[in-house]
Protein backbone atom coordinates (compact mmCIF):
# COMPACT_ATOMS: atom_id res chain seq x y z
CA UNK A 1 0.00 0.00 0.00
CA UNK A 2 1.49 3.35 -0.96
CA UNK A 3 1.93 5.46 2.14
CA UNK A 4 0.39 8.74 1.12
CA UNK A 5 -2.20 10.92 2.78
CA UNK A 6 -5.96 10.55 2.66
CA UNK A 7 -7.75 13.82 3.38
CA UNK A 8 -11.40 13.49 4.43
CA UNK A 9 -13.53 16.63 4.17
CA UNK A 10 -16.40 16.59 6.65
CA UNK A 11 -16.77 14.87 10.04
CA UNK A 12 -19.76 12.61 9.65
CA UNK A 13 -21.10 9.08 9.68
CA UNK A 14 -19.36 8.45 6.38
CA UNK A 15 -16.02 9.78 7.57
CA UNK A 16 -16.07 7.80 10.84
CA UNK A 17 -16.64 4.64 8.81
CA UNK A 18 -13.95 5.66 6.33
CA UNK A 19 -11.33 5.96 9.06
CA UNK A 20 -12.14 2.44 10.26
CA UNK A 21 -12.44 1.01 6.76
CA UNK A 22 -9.14 2.46 5.58
CA UNK A 23 -7.21 0.95 8.48
CA UNK A 24 -9.07 -2.38 8.22
CA UNK A 25 -8.27 -2.41 4.51
CA UNK A 26 -4.56 -1.87 5.16
CA UNK A 27 -4.08 1.84 4.48
CA UNK A 28 -0.77 2.59 6.25
CA UNK A 29 -0.44 6.26 5.35
CA UNK A 30 -1.75 9.38 7.00
CA UNK A 31 -5.45 10.06 7.51
CA UNK A 32 -6.45 13.68 8.04
CA UNK A 33 -10.06 14.32 9.00
CA UNK A 34 -11.18 17.91 8.53
CA UNK A 35 -14.50 19.00 10.01
CA UNK A 36 -15.99 22.44 10.56
CA UNK A 37 -17.75 21.48 13.78
CA UNK A 38 -15.80 21.25 17.04
CA UNK A 39 -16.69 17.60 17.60
CA UNK A 40 -15.43 14.32 16.21
CA UNK A 41 -18.09 12.57 14.10
CA UNK A 42 -21.31 12.10 16.08
CA UNK A 43 -24.64 10.51 15.37
CA UNK A 44 -27.04 12.96 13.81
CA UNK A 45 -30.32 11.00 13.92
CA UNK A 46 -30.71 11.56 17.71
CA UNK A 47 -30.57 15.34 17.22
CA UNK A 48 -34.31 15.41 16.58
CA UNK A 49 -34.98 12.73 19.18
CA UNK A 50 -32.96 12.08 22.36
CA UNK A 51 -30.84 15.23 22.05
CA UNK A 52 -33.78 17.53 21.44
CA UNK A 53 -35.65 15.92 24.32
CA UNK A 54 -32.63 16.60 26.55
CA UNK A 55 -31.94 12.90 27.16
CA UNK A 56 -28.40 12.86 25.69
CA UNK A 57 -25.46 15.15 24.92
CA UNK A 58 -23.16 15.23 21.90
CA UNK A 59 -20.43 13.54 23.96
CA UNK A 60 -22.79 10.57 24.41
CA UNK A 61 -23.30 10.38 20.66
CA UNK A 62 -19.78 10.10 19.28
CA UNK A 63 -19.82 7.36 16.63
CA UNK A 64 -16.40 6.17 17.76
CA UNK A 65 -14.57 7.24 20.89
CA UNK A 66 -11.62 9.69 20.73
CA UNK A 67 -9.26 6.81 21.62
CA UNK A 68 -10.18 5.10 18.34
CA UNK A 69 -8.85 8.01 16.28
CA UNK A 70 -5.70 8.17 18.40
CA UNK A 71 -5.05 4.48 18.09
CA UNK A 72 -5.73 4.45 14.35
CA UNK A 73 -3.55 7.53 13.84
CA UNK A 74 -6.31 9.71 12.47
CA UNK A 75 -5.60 13.43 12.83
CA UNK A 76 -8.70 15.53 13.38
CA UNK A 77 -8.57 19.18 12.49
CA UNK A 78 -11.36 21.71 12.96
CA UNK A 79 -11.43 23.90 9.87
CA UNK A 80 -13.51 24.63 6.81
CA UNK A 81 -12.15 23.66 3.41
CA UNK A 82 -12.52 26.63 1.08
CA UNK A 83 -10.96 25.34 -2.14
CA UNK A 84 -9.81 22.16 -3.86
CA UNK A 85 -6.90 22.51 -6.28
CA UNK A 86 -6.90 19.21 -8.17
CA UNK A 87 -3.86 20.03 -10.27
CA UNK A 88 -1.72 20.67 -7.20
CA UNK A 89 -3.66 18.00 -5.19
CA UNK A 90 -4.19 20.38 -2.29
CA UNK A 91 -7.04 21.83 -0.27
CA UNK A 92 -7.12 25.33 1.21
CA UNK A 93 -8.41 25.77 4.74
CA UNK A 94 -10.15 28.82 6.20
CA UNK A 95 -7.29 29.22 8.68
CA UNK A 96 -5.00 30.09 5.78
CA UNK A 97 -3.19 26.79 5.49
CA UNK A 98 -2.91 24.59 2.40
CA UNK A 99 -2.79 20.80 2.81
CA UNK A 100 -1.73 18.26 0.20
CA UNK A 101 -3.55 14.99 -0.47
CA UNK A 102 -2.92 11.75 -2.32
CA UNK A 103 -6.57 10.72 -2.02
CA UNK A 104 -9.39 13.12 -1.23
CA UNK A 105 -12.78 12.02 0.07
CA UNK A 106 -15.64 14.51 0.12
CA UNK A 107 -18.12 13.83 2.93
CA UNK A 108 -19.60 17.30 2.86
CA UNK A 109 -23.17 16.22 3.59
CA UNK A 110 -26.19 18.41 3.07
CA UNK A 111 -27.63 21.55 4.61
CA UNK A 112 -31.21 22.46 5.47
CA UNK A 113 -33.15 23.95 2.58
CA UNK A 114 -33.73 27.58 3.56
CA UNK A 115 -37.29 28.83 3.85
CA UNK A 116 -37.54 31.79 1.52
CA UNK A 117 -40.17 33.87 3.31
CA UNK A 118 -40.04 37.09 5.34
CA UNK A 119 -39.03 36.59 8.96
CA UNK A 120 -37.16 33.33 8.41
CA UNK A 121 -34.10 34.88 10.13
CA UNK A 122 -35.89 35.98 13.32
CA UNK A 123 -34.62 34.79 16.69
CA UNK A 124 -36.43 31.62 17.72
CA UNK A 125 -36.57 30.24 14.17
CA UNK A 126 -34.39 27.16 13.80
CA UNK A 127 -33.51 24.37 11.49
CA UNK A 128 -32.27 20.99 12.71
CA UNK A 129 -29.11 19.58 11.17
CA UNK A 130 -26.29 19.73 13.68
CA UNK A 131 -25.59 19.89 17.39
CA UNK A 132 -25.41 23.70 17.33
CA UNK A 133 -29.00 23.78 16.02
CA UNK A 134 -30.18 21.56 18.86
CA UNK A 135 -28.33 23.75 21.39
CA UNK A 136 -30.00 26.84 19.94
CA UNK A 137 -33.42 25.19 20.05
CA UNK A 138 -32.88 24.25 23.67
CA UNK A 139 -32.01 27.86 24.54
CA UNK A 140 -35.26 29.00 22.92
CA UNK A 141 -37.10 26.20 24.72
CA UNK A 142 -36.05 27.64 28.08
CA UNK A 143 -38.90 30.11 27.68
CA UNK A 144 -40.90 28.81 24.72
CA UNK A 145 -44.35 27.28 25.19
CA UNK A 146 -45.82 27.27 21.70
CA UNK A 147 -43.95 25.75 18.79
CA UNK A 148 -44.72 25.69 15.10
CA UNK A 149 -43.02 23.05 12.98
CA UNK A 150 -42.93 23.85 9.27
CA UNK A 151 -42.76 20.68 7.19
CA UNK A 152 -44.22 17.25 8.01
CA UNK A 153 -41.37 15.09 6.79
CA UNK A 154 -39.44 12.83 9.15
CA UNK A 155 -37.43 15.65 10.75
CA UNK A 156 -40.50 17.79 11.33
CA UNK A 157 -42.56 14.94 12.76
CA UNK A 158 -39.73 13.72 14.99
CA UNK A 159 -39.22 17.26 16.27
CA UNK A 160 -42.96 17.54 16.94
CA UNK A 161 -42.93 14.28 18.90
CA UNK A 162 -39.89 15.36 20.96
CA UNK A 163 -41.47 18.74 21.71
CA UNK A 164 -44.72 17.09 22.84
CA UNK A 165 -42.66 14.91 25.16
CA UNK A 166 -41.37 18.16 26.71
CA UNK A 167 -44.92 19.42 27.17
CA UNK A 168 -44.76 22.12 24.50
CA UNK A 169 -47.84 23.00 22.44
CA UNK A 170 -47.09 22.05 18.84
CA UNK A 171 -48.64 23.03 15.53
CA UNK A 172 -47.33 21.27 12.41
CA UNK A 173 -47.79 22.97 9.04
CA UNK A 174 -47.45 21.01 5.82
CA UNK A 175 -47.88 22.38 2.31
CA UNK A 176 -48.70 18.99 0.74
CA UNK A 177 -52.09 17.39 1.31
CA UNK A 178 -50.69 14.72 3.63
CA UNK A 179 -47.74 14.16 5.97
CA UNK A 180 -44.70 12.23 4.68
CA UNK A 181 -46.13 12.62 1.19
CA UNK A 182 -42.79 12.33 -0.55
CA UNK A 183 -41.78 9.05 1.08
CA UNK A 184 -44.76 6.87 2.03
CA UNK A 185 -48.08 5.46 0.85
CA UNK A 186 -51.29 7.31 1.79
CA UNK A 187 -52.16 4.63 4.38
CA UNK A 188 -48.94 5.38 6.28
CA UNK A 189 -49.49 9.13 6.05
CA UNK A 190 -52.98 8.62 7.50
CA UNK A 191 -51.50 6.56 10.32
CA UNK A 192 -48.97 9.24 11.31
CA UNK A 193 -51.62 11.92 10.94
CA UNK A 194 -53.84 10.05 13.41
CA UNK A 195 -51.07 9.40 15.93
CA UNK A 196 -49.86 13.00 16.00
CA UNK A 197 -53.40 14.23 16.58
CA UNK A 198 -53.86 11.61 19.34
CA UNK A 199 -50.69 12.99 20.93
CA UNK A 200 -52.10 16.51 20.93
CA UNK A 201 -50.46 18.04 17.86
CA UNK A 202 -52.45 20.65 15.94
CA UNK A 203 -51.68 19.20 12.52
CA UNK A 204 -52.57 21.14 9.40
CA UNK A 205 -51.95 19.86 5.90
CA UNK A 206 -52.40 21.66 2.61
CA UNK A 207 -51.50 25.02 4.15
CA UNK A 208 -49.12 27.62 2.78
CA UNK A 209 -46.87 29.72 4.99
CA UNK A 210 -46.65 33.41 4.03
CA UNK A 211 -44.32 34.84 6.66
CA UNK A 212 -42.85 34.46 10.10
CA UNK A 213 -43.71 37.44 12.27
CA UNK A 214 -42.13 39.13 15.26
CA UNK A 215 -39.95 42.12 16.17
CA UNK A 216 -36.67 40.71 17.42
CA UNK A 217 -37.95 37.22 18.18
CA UNK A 218 -40.68 35.21 16.54
CA UNK A 219 -44.23 35.71 17.79
CA UNK A 220 -46.18 33.83 15.15
CA UNK A 221 -46.46 32.28 11.71
CA UNK A 222 -48.71 33.91 9.14
CA UNK A 223 -50.48 31.42 6.89
CA UNK A 224 -51.25 32.04 3.23
CA UNK A 225 -54.96 32.46 4.07
CA UNK A 226 -54.14 35.26 6.54
CA UNK A 227 -54.47 33.36 9.82
CA UNK A 228 -51.77 33.96 12.42
CA UNK A 229 -50.58 30.94 14.42
CA UNK A 230 -48.91 32.16 17.64
CA UNK A 231 -45.44 30.73 18.26
CA UNK A 232 -42.33 31.48 20.30
CA UNK A 233 -40.37 28.66 18.64
CA UNK A 234 -40.34 27.69 14.96
CA UNK A 235 -38.55 24.65 13.58
CA UNK A 236 -38.17 24.48 9.82
CA UNK A 237 -37.79 21.02 8.28
CA UNK A 238 -38.41 21.37 4.56
CA UNK A 239 -35.66 19.15 3.19
CA UNK A 240 -31.96 19.53 2.53
CA UNK A 241 -29.68 20.48 -0.34
CA UNK A 242 -26.40 18.64 -0.90
CA UNK A 243 -23.16 20.51 -0.27
CA UNK A 244 -21.65 20.25 -3.73
CA UNK A 245 -20.09 23.69 -4.16
CA UNK A 246 -16.51 22.66 -3.32
CA UNK A 247 -16.69 19.86 -5.88
CA UNK A 248 -18.41 22.04 -8.45
CA UNK A 249 -15.83 24.82 -8.08
CA UNK A 250 -13.11 22.21 -8.58
CA UNK A 251 -14.68 21.20 -11.89
CA UNK A 252 -16.03 17.82 -10.75
CA UNK A 253 -19.28 16.55 -12.25
CA UNK A 254 -22.29 17.52 -10.13
CA UNK A 255 -25.99 16.92 -10.66
CA UNK A 256 -28.08 16.99 -7.47
CA UNK A 257 -25.03 15.57 -5.71
CA UNK A 258 -21.40 14.88 -6.51
CA UNK A 259 -21.48 12.19 -9.19
CA UNK A 260 -19.67 9.00 -8.25
CA UNK A 261 -19.42 5.59 -9.88
CA UNK A 262 -20.23 2.26 -8.25
CA UNK A 263 -16.87 2.39 -6.44
CA UNK A 264 -17.46 5.86 -5.00
CA UNK A 265 -15.04 7.57 -7.42
CA UNK A 266 -15.70 10.98 -8.93
CA UNK A 267 -14.46 11.66 -12.45
CA UNK A 268 -11.04 12.40 -10.88
CA UNK A 269 -9.46 9.06 -9.84
CA UNK A 270 -7.89 10.69 -6.77
CA UNK A 271 -11.17 12.17 -5.51
CA UNK A 272 -14.08 10.28 -3.95
CA UNK A 273 -17.38 11.21 -2.35
CA UNK A 274 -19.66 9.48 0.16
CA UNK A 275 -22.88 10.14 2.05
CA UNK A 276 -25.65 12.70 1.62
CA UNK A 277 -23.56 14.73 -0.84
CA UNK A 278 -22.96 11.87 -3.31
CA UNK A 279 -25.13 10.69 -6.20
CA UNK A 280 -24.54 7.14 -7.45
CA UNK A 281 -26.17 4.68 -9.80
CA UNK A 282 -28.02 2.01 -7.84
CA UNK A 283 -28.07 -1.33 -9.64
CA UNK A 284 -30.98 -2.74 -7.61
CA UNK A 285 -33.33 0.17 -8.27
CA UNK A 286 -31.84 0.84 -11.71
CA UNK A 287 -31.49 4.60 -11.34
CA UNK A 288 -29.26 7.32 -9.99
CA UNK A 289 -29.87 7.98 -6.29
CA UNK A 290 -28.76 10.50 -3.71
CA UNK A 291 -29.82 9.16 -0.34
CA UNK A 292 -29.93 10.94 3.00
CA UNK A 293 -29.46 8.22 5.57
CA UNK A 294 -26.89 6.58 7.83
CA UNK A 295 -26.95 3.20 6.09
CA UNK A 296 -26.07 4.83 2.78
CA UNK A 297 -23.24 6.87 4.33
CA UNK A 298 -21.80 3.72 5.91
CA UNK A 299 -22.07 1.62 2.75
CA UNK A 300 -20.54 4.29 0.53
CA UNK A 301 -17.73 4.89 3.02
CA UNK A 302 -16.98 1.16 3.13
CA UNK A 303 -16.89 1.12 -0.64
CA UNK A 304 -14.58 4.14 -0.91
CA UNK A 305 -12.25 2.74 1.76
CA UNK A 306 -12.07 -0.60 -0.06
CA UNK A 307 -11.44 1.12 -3.39
CA UNK A 308 -8.65 3.27 -1.96
CA UNK A 309 -7.12 0.11 -0.50
CA UNK A 310 -7.17 -1.56 -3.92
CA UNK A 311 -10.05 -3.93 -3.21
CA UNK A 312 -12.98 -4.57 -5.51
CA UNK A 313 -16.21 -3.48 -3.84
CA UNK A 314 -19.26 -1.72 -5.20
CA UNK A 315 -22.07 0.18 -3.45
CA UNK A 316 -24.57 -2.62 -2.99
CA UNK A 317 -26.16 -2.84 0.47
CA UNK A 318 -29.90 -2.30 0.67
CA UNK A 319 -30.60 1.20 2.03
CA UNK A 320 -32.66 1.35 5.19
CA UNK A 321 -33.97 4.10 7.44
CA UNK A 322 -35.57 4.57 10.80
CA UNK A 323 -37.66 7.15 12.59
CA UNK A 324 -38.62 7.24 16.29
CA UNK A 325 -41.74 9.19 17.22
CA UNK A 326 -43.56 8.77 20.57
CA UNK A 327 -43.78 4.99 21.18
CA UNK A 328 -43.44 4.26 17.46
CA UNK A 329 -40.32 2.65 16.09
CA UNK A 330 -40.54 2.94 12.33
CA UNK A 331 -38.01 0.88 10.39
CA UNK A 332 -37.93 1.18 6.62
CA UNK A 333 -36.21 -1.27 4.32
CA UNK A 334 -35.52 -0.24 0.73
CA UNK A 335 -37.04 2.51 -1.40
CA UNK A 336 -40.75 2.56 -2.20
CA UNK A 337 -40.54 5.07 -5.07
CA UNK A 338 -42.28 3.65 -8.14
CA UNK A 339 -44.38 1.05 -6.27
CA UNK A 340 -47.63 -0.11 -7.88
CA UNK A 341 -49.17 -2.11 -5.04
CA UNK A 342 -49.06 -2.23 -1.25
CA UNK A 343 -49.72 -5.16 1.07
CA UNK A 344 -50.60 -4.49 4.71
CA UNK A 345 -49.88 -6.86 7.57
CA UNK A 346 -51.77 -5.49 10.54
CA UNK A 347 -54.09 -2.48 10.37
CA UNK A 348 -52.71 1.07 10.37
CA UNK A 349 -56.20 2.46 11.05
CA UNK A 350 -56.21 1.14 14.61
CA UNK A 351 -53.46 0.55 17.14
CA UNK A 352 -49.78 1.25 16.64
CA UNK A 353 -48.20 -1.81 15.07
CA UNK A 354 -48.28 -2.93 11.43
CA UNK A 355 -46.15 -3.35 8.33
CA UNK A 356 -46.70 -1.97 4.85
CA UNK A 357 -44.95 -3.83 2.02
CA UNK A 358 -44.40 -2.09 -1.30
CA UNK A 359 -44.36 -4.07 -4.55
CA UNK A 360 -43.34 -3.01 -8.05
CA UNK A 361 -44.23 -5.35 -10.89
CA UNK A 362 -44.74 -8.17 -8.41
CA UNK A 363 -41.38 -7.74 -6.72
CA UNK A 364 -40.99 -6.63 -3.10
CA UNK A 365 -39.07 -3.30 -3.19
CA UNK A 366 -39.61 -1.72 0.24
CA UNK A 367 -41.36 -2.00 3.59
CA UNK A 368 -42.44 0.48 6.26
CA UNK A 369 -42.58 -1.37 9.59
CA UNK A 370 -44.06 0.28 12.68
CA UNK A 371 -43.18 -1.56 15.88
CA UNK A 372 -42.58 -4.65 13.71
CA UNK A 373 -38.90 -5.49 13.94
CA UNK A 374 -39.42 -8.97 12.56
CA UNK A 375 -41.18 -7.72 9.44
CA UNK A 376 -38.36 -5.21 8.98
CA UNK A 377 -35.60 -7.79 9.13
CA UNK A 378 -37.64 -10.11 6.92
CA UNK A 379 -37.93 -7.32 4.37
CA UNK A 380 -34.25 -6.45 4.51
CA UNK A 381 -33.45 -10.02 3.66
CA UNK A 382 -36.24 -10.65 1.14
CA UNK A 383 -35.56 -7.44 -0.80
CA UNK A 384 -31.83 -8.05 -0.65
CA UNK A 385 -32.37 -11.50 -2.13
CA UNK A 386 -34.80 -10.21 -4.76
CA UNK A 387 -37.73 -12.34 -3.55
CA UNK A 388 -41.35 -11.93 -4.59
CA UNK A 389 -43.24 -13.33 -1.59
CA UNK A 390 -46.85 -14.39 -2.04
CA UNK A 391 -48.91 -11.32 -1.26
CA UNK A 392 -51.91 -13.08 0.30
CA UNK A 393 -49.66 -15.10 2.60
CA UNK A 394 -47.70 -11.99 3.53
CA UNK A 395 -50.89 -10.14 4.50
CA UNK A 396 -52.02 -13.05 6.70
CA UNK A 397 -50.72 -12.49 10.25
CA UNK A 398 -50.83 -16.26 10.80
CA UNK A 399 -48.17 -16.90 8.14
CA UNK A 400 -44.75 -17.30 9.74
CA UNK A 401 -42.52 -14.85 7.91
CA UNK A 402 -39.60 -17.22 7.85
CA UNK A 403 -41.66 -19.62 5.68
CA UNK A 404 -41.80 -16.91 2.99
CA UNK A 405 -38.02 -16.76 2.77
CA UNK A 406 -37.80 -20.24 1.28
CA UNK A 407 -38.27 -19.21 -2.30
CA UNK A 408 -37.51 -21.94 -4.83
CA UNK A 409 -35.79 -19.56 -7.26
CA UNK A 410 -33.15 -18.45 -4.77
CA UNK A 411 -30.14 -20.52 -3.89
CA UNK A 412 -29.25 -20.89 -0.24
CA UNK A 413 -26.65 -18.71 1.44
Amino acid sequence: MDAGRVVIVGASHASAQLCAGLRQGGWAGEILLIGDEPSLPYQRPPLSKALLAGEATVADLLIRKPEFYEKERVVFRQARVTLIDREAATVDLDDGETVGYDRLVLCTGARPRPLDIPGADLAGVHCLRDAADTDAIQRTLATARRAVVIGAGYIGLEAAASLRKLGVDVTVLEAADRVLQRVTAPAISAFYDRVHREEGVDLRVGVGVAAIEGDAAVTGVRLADGELVAADLVIVGVGVVPNVELAQDAGLAVDNGILVDAHGRTDDPAVFAAGDCASYFDARYDRRLRLECVSNAVEQAKTVAATICGKDKTISALPWFWSDQYDLKLQIAGLSTGYDEIVLRGDPRTGRSFACFYFAEGRLVAADCVNRAQEFMFSKRAIGEGLSPDRALLADPETPLVSLLRAPSVSAG
Binding site: Q24, I63, K65, E67, A373, M377, L401
Partner: protein
Protein backbone atom coordinates in the same frame (compact mmCIF):
# COMPACT_ATOMS: atom_id res chain seq x y z
CA UNK B 1 -12.08 -3.23 33.54
CA UNK B 2 -11.46 -6.49 31.76
CA UNK B 3 -11.12 -7.96 28.30
CA UNK B 4 -13.51 -9.35 25.73
CA UNK B 5 -12.44 -11.33 22.69
CA UNK B 6 -14.18 -10.85 19.34
CA UNK B 7 -13.40 -13.50 16.72
CA UNK B 8 -14.12 -12.66 13.10
CA UNK B 9 -15.71 -15.18 10.77
CA UNK B 10 -12.29 -15.91 9.25
CA UNK B 11 -10.86 -16.71 12.68
CA UNK B 12 -9.00 -13.45 13.33
CA UNK B 13 -9.30 -12.56 17.02
CA UNK B 14 -9.37 -9.15 18.66
CA UNK B 15 -8.85 -8.87 22.39
CA UNK B 16 -10.39 -5.63 23.58
CA UNK B 17 -10.21 -3.95 26.99
CA UNK B 18 -13.41 -2.55 28.41
CA UNK B 19 -14.69 -0.24 31.09
CA UNK B 20 -17.88 -1.30 32.89
CA UNK B 21 -21.07 -0.22 31.17
CA UNK B 22 -19.81 -0.01 27.59
CA UNK B 23 -21.82 -2.07 25.14
CA UNK B 24 -20.08 -4.72 23.06
CA UNK B 25 -21.10 -2.76 19.94
CA UNK B 26 -19.34 0.39 21.21
CA UNK B 27 -16.31 -1.67 22.19
CA UNK B 28 -16.10 -3.24 18.76
CA UNK B 29 -16.55 -0.04 16.77
CA UNK B 30 -14.22 2.01 18.95
CA UNK B 31 -11.54 -0.67 18.66
CA UNK B 32 -11.86 -1.12 14.92
CA UNK B 33 -13.17 -4.69 15.01
CA UNK B 34 -14.32 -5.35 11.42
CA UNK B 35 -17.72 -6.92 10.93
CA UNK B 36 -19.68 -4.93 13.50
CA UNK B 37 -21.31 -1.84 12.05
CA UNK B 38 -23.79 -0.56 14.62
CA UNK B 39 -25.49 1.73 12.09
CA UNK B 40 -28.29 2.80 14.43
CA UNK B 41 -25.97 3.73 17.29
CA UNK B 42 -27.22 1.11 19.72
CA UNK B 43 -31.02 1.19 19.59
CA UNK B 44 -31.51 -2.42 18.45
CA UNK B 45 -32.95 -0.91 15.26
CA UNK B 46 -30.62 -2.13 12.54
CA UNK B 47 -29.40 -5.62 13.39
CA UNK B 48 -25.85 -4.87 12.17
CA UNK B 49 -24.08 -5.87 15.40
CA UNK B 50 -25.02 -9.56 15.51
CA UNK B 51 -22.59 -11.62 17.61
CA UNK B 52 -22.69 -15.24 18.79
CA UNK B 53 -21.76 -15.81 22.42
CA UNK B 54 -19.38 -18.66 23.21
CA UNK B 55 -21.27 -21.60 24.80
CA UNK B 56 -19.25 -21.32 28.00
CA UNK B 57 -20.50 -17.76 28.53
CA UNK B 58 -24.20 -17.96 27.73
CA UNK B 59 -25.12 -18.43 31.39
CA UNK B 60 -23.22 -15.24 32.27
CA UNK B 61 -24.70 -13.10 29.50
CA UNK B 62 -28.19 -14.51 29.77
CA UNK B 63 -30.49 -15.15 26.81
CA UNK B 64 -31.43 -12.51 24.26
CA UNK B 65 -34.53 -10.37 24.75
CA UNK B 66 -37.68 -10.67 22.63
CA UNK B 67 -36.70 -7.42 20.92
CA UNK B 68 -33.35 -8.91 19.91
CA UNK B 69 -34.99 -12.16 18.81
CA UNK B 70 -37.31 -10.30 16.45
CA UNK B 71 -34.29 -8.70 14.81
CA UNK B 72 -31.88 -11.64 14.74
CA UNK B 73 -34.09 -14.60 13.97
CA UNK B 74 -34.51 -13.55 10.35
CA UNK B 75 -30.77 -13.86 9.81
CA UNK B 76 -29.69 -17.04 8.02
CA UNK B 77 -26.81 -17.18 10.50
CA UNK B 78 -28.97 -16.95 13.63
CA UNK B 79 -27.71 -19.35 16.32
CA UNK B 80 -29.15 -20.21 19.75
CA UNK B 81 -26.56 -17.92 21.37
CA UNK B 82 -27.01 -15.02 18.94
CA UNK B 83 -27.23 -11.55 20.50
CA UNK B 84 -27.14 -7.94 19.39
CA UNK B 85 -23.84 -6.53 20.67
CA UNK B 86 -25.48 -3.17 21.41
CA UNK B 87 -27.71 -4.86 23.98
CA UNK B 88 -24.84 -6.57 25.82
CA UNK B 89 -23.17 -4.34 28.40
CA UNK B 90 -19.66 -5.19 29.52
CA UNK B 91 -19.24 -5.68 33.27
CA UNK B 92 -16.89 -7.40 35.72
CA UNK B 93 -18.85 -10.65 35.42
CA UNK B 94 -18.09 -10.74 31.69
CA UNK B 95 -14.31 -10.34 31.99
CA UNK B 96 -12.88 -12.90 29.56
CA UNK B 97 -16.07 -13.19 27.49
CA UNK B 98 -15.65 -14.63 24.02
CA UNK B 99 -17.99 -13.89 21.11
CA UNK B 100 -17.72 -14.69 17.43
CA UNK B 101 -19.07 -12.80 14.44
CA UNK B 102 -21.30 -14.13 11.67
CA UNK B 103 -20.03 -14.02 8.09
CA UNK B 104 -22.44 -11.21 7.18
CA UNK B 105 -24.43 -8.62 9.04
CA UNK B 106 -27.91 -8.18 7.64
Amino acid sequence: MGTITFTEYDGTSHEVEFADGESLMELATSNGVPGIDGDCGGEASCGTCHVIVDDAWIAATGPRSDEESQMIEMSPECAPNSRLACQLKACAGLDGLKVRLPEFQM
